[in-house]
């Protein structure tokens, strides 16, 4: 028992350290410097999830909306279960993927430990010292509120009981899924299809993290009888709606059992890969395939000019790091999502007031590389040390990094400009916004790239979020972003009466002048001949 406990603590610390080195993040409140504790590892996430659970569970109790308490509680339960699953999958996948990618088992394989020892230590580390217990707080406070609601409202006692039941089932499912997904960490790097899937997965996680309150509000405001029928057919959560209808209950339960069985089986199979201490050659004594002949592959080799080669290298590294790529793509997607409701309206005549909106769009689009350029630095990771041995000036590298961040801004700009051109029935306006982004975004990228460059270590080091002062960087980002929005709004108000029809163009020129000056000053603040 003592051995398992110690081993679990060592594993949690090791995963925390490797995760910190790679992503600058650790388990919640777990650091490599402090002794792991159950309390410290779970408390923060438990508080956040309890808050979501209470917020959601209060809806039926306070009688918000037009729904009867049973339906309201059923939908609240779906939301709680959803967040529980999301957090559990996130926690387990992040732990297991670092465990796998950093080959932590391999360091244990030389020790006289059995697979059972490592198995117990792995789960102990995950549950107790990596925040794995916290996801239950996504439904327990809500279930308690459910029991309280039955005292004051006409709501059945079955629902909170079902919430507890479903909560534990989803925990089992999410853990199994997280273990299985995390175990592919090494393969994800090798296969394009897995990298794409992983990027989409991370994108969904980021989207839900940043937008959960909108999702809850949207669901609660758009419930219809038809929605209820469809949801009752879903696994895990269908029981909240179909518990009185044996036919629906049967379908939902059957789906739950099948999905759970498949996921469990998958996880158990993958656990052998994660924890397997026995060398593969010993457990598979089958005849080894003999390579008939060595495949002669043609070597592709074409040296491009340095700026282009740097951008290609950065984008290649990014495409092989799904988590970081998703972090950038999230901002692209969120911008497009922000404008999608506009698509539902018919093309109309563009009013002068909309000049202000277009100015805001230019700000929003061109700020993207500024928000994301630091990720282009972090993607270097351990390999950043290579750059210190090269004949590269800091200023030049800041420029290359800035340019690597621009393509993402142009992608979202192209889509949004097309949407605006369609809605406004004004192609010129679309083109104007696109070119504004095209011109402004490199300067914004340069501004933040230069700030990040100033923060990077002087001696050869790995680069991650831990290499810079994230608090300072976030404050600078917020100040610049808010400042640019204020300038865009104020200048629009001031310029519309003065310049009339050509006001958007003037706004653009003013914005361009400000960003180019700020970007250039920040860039020039890096000493010209300072090596990395």
């Amino acid at each position: 028992m003592q051995l398992e406990k110690e081993l679990a603590k060592i594993l949690a610390r090791e995963v925390a350290y490797r995760s910190y080195r790679r992503y600058g993040t650790q388990g919640l409140l777990i650091t490599r410097r402090v002794e792991p504790s159950v309390w410290r590892s779970n408390i923060l996430m438990a508080i956040i999830l309890s808050f979501i659970s209470i917020f959601t569970g209060l809806v039926p109790l306070l009688g918000v909306g037009r729904l009867n308490p049973n339906v309201a509680f059923a939908f609240s339960s779906v939301i709680m279960i959803f967040f529980e699953a999301l957090m559990a999958i996130f926690v387990v996948t992040s732990f297991t993927s670092v465990f796998m990618a950093e080959r932590i088992t391999e360091s244990l394989s030389i020790l006289p430990l059995t697979e059972k020892d490592v198995f117990k230590a792995y789960f102990r580390a995950l549950l107790l010292y990596w925040g794995g217990l916290a996801p239950i707080f996504a439904f327990i406070p809500g279930a308690i509120l459910g029991f309280v609601t039955t005292l004051y409202k006409h709501m059945t006692l079955v629902l909170p009981v079902l919430l507890c039941f479903a909560g534990f089932l989803i925990m089992l499912f999410s853990y199994s899924l997280g273990i299985a997904l995390g175990s592919y960490a090494r393969k994800v790097r090798k296969k394009v299809s897995l990298r794409a899937l992983s990027t989409i997965g991370w994108l969904i996680v980021f989207a839900f993290f940043y937008s959960w309150n909108y999702i809850v509000r949207y669901i609660l405001e758009n419930i219809t009888a038809e929605t209820v029928m469809w949801v009752s057919l879903l696994p895990f959560v269908g029981i909240f709606f179909g518990y009185e209808n044996s036919y629906m209950l049967l379908i939902s339960t059957a789906e739950t059992v099948i999905i759970l069985a498949i996921t469990l089986k998958w996880a158990i199979a993958r656990l052998k890969v994660i924890i397997g201490l026995t060398p593969i050659t010993l457990i598979t004594p089958a005849k080894l395939p003999v390579k008939e002949k060595v495949e002669v592959k043609a070597i592709k080799f074409k040296v491009k000019p340095a700026p282009l080669q740097f951008i290609i290298k950065d984008l290649t590294l990014l495409s092989r790091d799904p988590r970081r790529l998703a972090n950038i793509l999230y901002f692209v997607v969120i911008q497009i999502l922000a404008i999608l409701p506009v698509l539902t309206s018919e093309p109309r005549k563009w009013s002068m007031v909309d000049t202000m909106v277009s100015a805001l769009f230019i700000v929003m689009l061109s700020i993207l590389p500024g928000i994301t350029v630091d990720i282009i630095y972090y993607v270097e990771g351990e390999s950043a040390k290579v750059l210190y041995y090269m004949p590269i000036f800091r200023r030049k590298l800041a420029f290359y990094k800035a340019m690597s961040a621009v393509p993402f801004a142009l992608l979202s700009s192209l889509i949004i400009s097309a949407i605006i051109a369609y809605i406004s029935n004004n192609a010129t306006l679309g083109v104007l916004i696109f070119f504004a982004t095209l011109i402004c975004s490199p300067f914004i990228a340069l501004l933040f790239s230069s700030i990040t460059m100033h923060m990077l270590p002087e001696s050869p080091s790995a680069w991650s979020e831990a290499s810079v002062s994230r608090r300072l960087l976030t404050i600078v980002k917020l100040v610049v972003f808010i400042g640019l929005i204020i300038i865009a709004i104020v200048s629009s108000f001031l310029l519309i009466p003065i310049f009339g029809e050509i006001a958007p163009l003037v706004v653009l020129l003013a914005y361009l002048a400000i960003t180019s000056v700020a970007g250039t000053i920040a860039y020039l603040s890096i000493p010209k001949y300072k090596p990395l």
């Binding site: 790097r189 592959k297 070597i299 080799f301 000019p305 340095a306 092989r320 041995y389 004949p391 001696s459």
Partner: protein, 252 residues
């Protein structure tokens, strides 16, 4: 033959620990100098000084006359450096890495030259893999391939033979000799003393940050009355025969 690397009365301390203490030596064009020393004796520190990554507290490090502190970028352009710690882009494939390195150093290599080097080092079968998936020795070969493409005039190779199989080690020795014949100068460190003896025109032994012995391998052996370079090394680095008695008595 001019000097390609010059250390002139170089001193360096990290905190209260004096790592390099008044080191002076030269590596000439057309010469292979092997730097030997126990772990932590300051070899890698000296090597990094040639790139201006570590700055001496006192003294000067010149690379083909270029001050590595005042102009590290120019020094880095001239030096073909192999770090002891294998730092490479693990998420890149071999060709992607070579393209990147060639671009940074302005190498005008064509695909035929790349194929020749890749085949020479036996890297072709790993062409589709990420560098991170390769073994220690194979990663070293990838770094070597990038150096071979550059044809540097100054070679600074820290533990270049570590992890290499005998045939790859032979390739490296031949390559270094060939470059040196063409006028380059090489500063190499290794713990494999027979290799040091085989390749070195001159051997320097560093101990606790000081050069304690210098000369051709044959001269050193004669001077210390030793049959092998290993004996010279053990004598000048203060290895006590008593140590062996302690080891033998460990489990008694």
């Amino acid at each position: 033959m001019g000097a390609v690397v010059q250390f002139e009365d170089v001193w360096k301390s990290f905190g209260s620990s004096a790592v390099i203490q008044g080191v002076s030596f030269t590596v000439n064009s057309g010469e292979i100098v092997v730097l030997l020393g126990p772990n932590g004796s300051g070899k890698s520190t000296l090597f990094k000084m040639t790139l201006g990554i570590i700055k001496p507290d006192r003294g000067q490090v010149l690379v083909e006359g270029v001050d590595a502190v005042a102009n590290p970028i120019e020094a880095r352009r001239r030096v073909g450096y192999m770090p002891e710690e294998l730092i490479v882009y693990e998420s890149l494939k071999i060709n992607e890495y070579l393209e990147f390195m060639s671009s940074v150093y302005g190498v005008q290599a064509d695909v035929l030259m790349v194929e020749k080097i890749i085949d020479l080092l036996g890297l072709r079968e790993y062409a589709g893999k990420f560098i991170g998936e390769l073994s220690h020795g194979t990663k070293r070969k990838v770094i070597l391939a990038s150096l071979m493409l550059r044809e540097p005039h100054v070679l600074v190779l820290d533990e270049v033979f570590s992890g290499l199989d005998p045939s790859s080690a032979r390739i490296v020795k031949t390559w270094v000799r060939e470059l040196v014949k063409r006028g380059a100068g090489a500063l190499i460190s290794t713990h494999v003393l027979p290799i040091a003896e085989a390749v070195a025109d001159r051997v320097l032994i560093i101990h606790r940050g000081r050069i304690v012995s210098e000369g051709k391998p044959s001269e050193l052996k004669e001077l210390f009355g030793a049959k092998e370079l290993e004996e010279v090394f053990l004598q000048v680095t203060g290895y006590s025969p008593e140590t062996e008695k302690v080891v033998r008595a460990l489990y008694e």
